[in-house]
């Protein structure tokens, strides 16, 4: 079994497969112990519909998630998330991850179940999202991989899929990879392969000064799986969907590090510049008097959805409490800037946001909790400024776009198989996918089904020619002393995509964009240079970014009708 990508989904796929007793190789571009979107933490685990306190069933929740996105959602993968996410949490606990308030720090809190010591977020009545200590998760997964004998190959970038007889569309029988420190080229054989390399980034957003902060996701998560899958003949869906950017480290402020009311900071009180409290309302516009009401469905409402999988056009059925929109607030005389009012929150809620959520959430323990505290921030006395509406903390232009929320990705069947034999996908590699629990559940599920396939797969030799062509392709930039750097090419792709596939999309614009990208492919890619294996990895990533941009343009050209939910 071969697993490409050692983030959340990849680790779980490897663990599931290794538990079945097969040999597993895990290839990770960074360091499995900390790599991926969730390497530094996770504060809430969504859709744990089978936990003993849940007020919703997996079926109810999955149907709601599909309906909330107008049908443009991955019902299969989210059903797996709702059915098995909680099992993975219990697994994690057995590996040493912390999922309960075992020290009773929040004893008596409204969001705590006294029996299980679970802490919940958002909908306190229906209790299907758990507050967790996610900084403990990634190292636990890594340790479990090692304990089970998974061969972990770190610092190694998967570059292509190898198919039977080297034929596009053929059964996948292995992959190629290159080490980012030594430049060593690897050819890996496999009975079954799981792709878990997350989703494309840096298609529209690129900062030449701070490239690592171009996007919300880690810089080495560039959608390599999409690019190599497309070349191998994998089917995709919804790739024409993009949204106006919400996050870019360079263009906005540190995630979770500004005053806001969403996600990690739900449902923090806010005040305006003069200290006037910002009103909260339920889905029907009913003013909420108490903080506690922000965590409850409206009268007559079954449950509400909050967190990472929220819709841009939410249905009234599942709409949760929120502050009034900014334009309405300004009309009512509220003055900018607004601030998060942690001191105004009840003590246990304050400590849940600042200390637990901000702390256990990814990118918060050191950069926010530790650094802000060190610089004098005190949640008991300070108001933290807000820099945008919602949780955005920044403003973007309509052409500055991102694959965010539930973007397109690989098509899957009920076994999380792609259309190619021997090839499975999990986590954010899949279409309409997001969130930690989803990645864990689908990773484990894909791992199990991939093993089943691998057990019965006939042996097939690797095509030496296919591997050699790939080696020549990827090593070429190392041989060039002069030419283009990866940053220059990434900036060029982003510029073209902003111009040709921004807020407005017409066939002529898209065709013109495709021609511009074809030109980059033909004339600039052959000039790319890399001074060493590290720069080679960065260069190969941008070649994939270019491929993904073309995939998006082709998908856009194929679409003939506008679509609200695809923001198209």
């Amino acid at each position: 079994m071969l697993v490409l990508g050692g983030g959340i989904a990849g680790c779980w796929a490897a663990i599931a497969a290794a538990r079945e007793g097969v040999g597993v190789t895990l290839v990770e571009k960074g360091a499995t112990v900390s790599s991926g979107a969730a390497g530094s933490g996770c504060d809430h685990w969504e859709s744990a519909a089978t936990n003993p306190c849940s007020g919703v069933t997996p079926e109810e929740l999955t149907r709601a998630m599909i309906a909330d996105h107008g049908g443009y959602n991955n019902g299969i993968s989210h059903y797996i998330e709702c059915r098995e996410g909680y099992d993975r949490l219990l697994d994690l606990e057995a590996m040493g991850g912390k999922i309960r308030d075992s020290e009773d720090e929040f004893a008596g809190a409204e969001f705590r179940d006294e029996k299980t010591k679970f802490l919940f977020a958002y909908d306190y009545v229906n209790r299907f999202t758990l507050r967790v200590w996610g900084t403990t998760f990634k190292s636990a997964l890594h340790a479990e991989c090692r304990r089970l004998g998974v061969q972990v190959i770190d610092r190694t970038m998967a570059t292509s899929l190898l198919s039977e007889e080297g034929r596009q569309g053929g059964r996948i029988i292995g992959a190629t990879a290159v080490n980012g420190r030594t430049g060593e080229f690897l050819v890996l054989r496999a009975g079954a392969t799981v792709l878990a390399m997350s989703r494309p980034t840096r298609i529209w957003l690129f900062s030449t000064g701070l490239p690592g902060l171009s996007e919300f996701r880690p810089p080495q998560c560039t959608g390599d799986g999409h690019a190599m899958g497309w070349k191998a003949g994998v089917e995709f869906t919804m790739m024409e969907k993009s949204v106006q950017a919400e996050w870019s480290g360079e263009r906005s402020y540190p995630p979770y590090g500004t005053g806001n009311t969403h996600n990690t900071w739900y449902a923090c009180s806010m005040v305006d510049a003069e200290g006037r409290e910002i009103p909260w309302v339920d889905r029907d516009g009913r003013l909420l008097e108490s903080v506690s009401e922000r965590y409850r469905p409206a009268p007559g409402q079954r449950f509400f959805i909050k967190g990472g999988g929220e819709s841009y056009f939410p249905l009234h059925d599942y709409l949760g409490p929120d502050t009034l929109p900014v334009d309405q607030l300004l009309e009512q005389g509220f003055k900018l800037p607004f601030y998060a009012d942690l001191p105004g929150m009840p003590e246990l809620e304050r400590r849940a946001i600042w200390g637990l959520m901000v702390g256990e959430e990814g990118k918060t323990k050191v950069p926010i909790l530790q650094n802000y505290t060190g610089a004098g921030f005190d949640p008991d006395t300070h108001l933290l400024q807000s820099y945008g509406d919602g949780w955005r903390s920044g403003a973007f232009l309509p052409q500055e776009r991102q694959l965010f929320g539930l973007p397109g990705g690989m098509m899957n069947d009920w076994e999380l198989r792609t259309n190619l034999e021997g090839l499975f996908a999990a986590g954010d590699q899949l279409f309409a996918s997001n969130c930690h629990g989803h990645a864990a559940a689908t990773g484990h599920y894909a791992g199990r089904h991939a093993v089943e396939f691998a057990m019965h797969a006939a042996d097939a030799p690797i095509s030496a020619e296919q591997a050699e062509i790939e080696r020549d392709r990827i090593m070429a930039p190392l041989d060039r002393k002069r030419g283009l750097t990866w940053k220059e090419l990434n900036a060029a792709v982003a510029r073209q995509m902003q111009h040709h596939c921004g807020a407005f999309k017409t066939a002529d614009l898209l065709e013109s964009g495709l021609a511009a990208l074809d030109d980059l492919e033909e004339h600039e890619v052959p000039r790319l240079r890399a001074g060493n294996p590290h720069e080679l990895i960065r260069t190969l990533e941008v070649m994939n970014i270019l491929t993904n941009a073309r995939l998006i343009l082709h998908a856009s050209l194929a679409r003939q009708a506008s679509s609200k939910h695809l923001q198209w």
Partner: protein, 95 residues
Amino acid sequence: MTDRSRLGEGPLREEVPAPLFIDPELCTGCNLCLEVCQVDLMLPHPEKGGPPILRYPEECWYEGSCVEVCPVPGAIRLVHPPANRVNWKLKESRS
């Protein structure tokens, strides 16, 4: 207001913003930070025991795994670029 004096000063490589401040007095050169960095932006010091070199600082994702793993308190600090710093004020104050 943020107490700027406590955020540290001076990049290690002048031409790009430095995400990390490594105190050469405290750093033991164990290279644990370098091994957990998913971006792989550091190189080991050419001399054993020396602090790692920030070879590609602009690629930093500012998530802090390197700081978390460091066994010596204060030996390595992560600092957001100035354009990323945010403001706070005392609840009673009006500015």
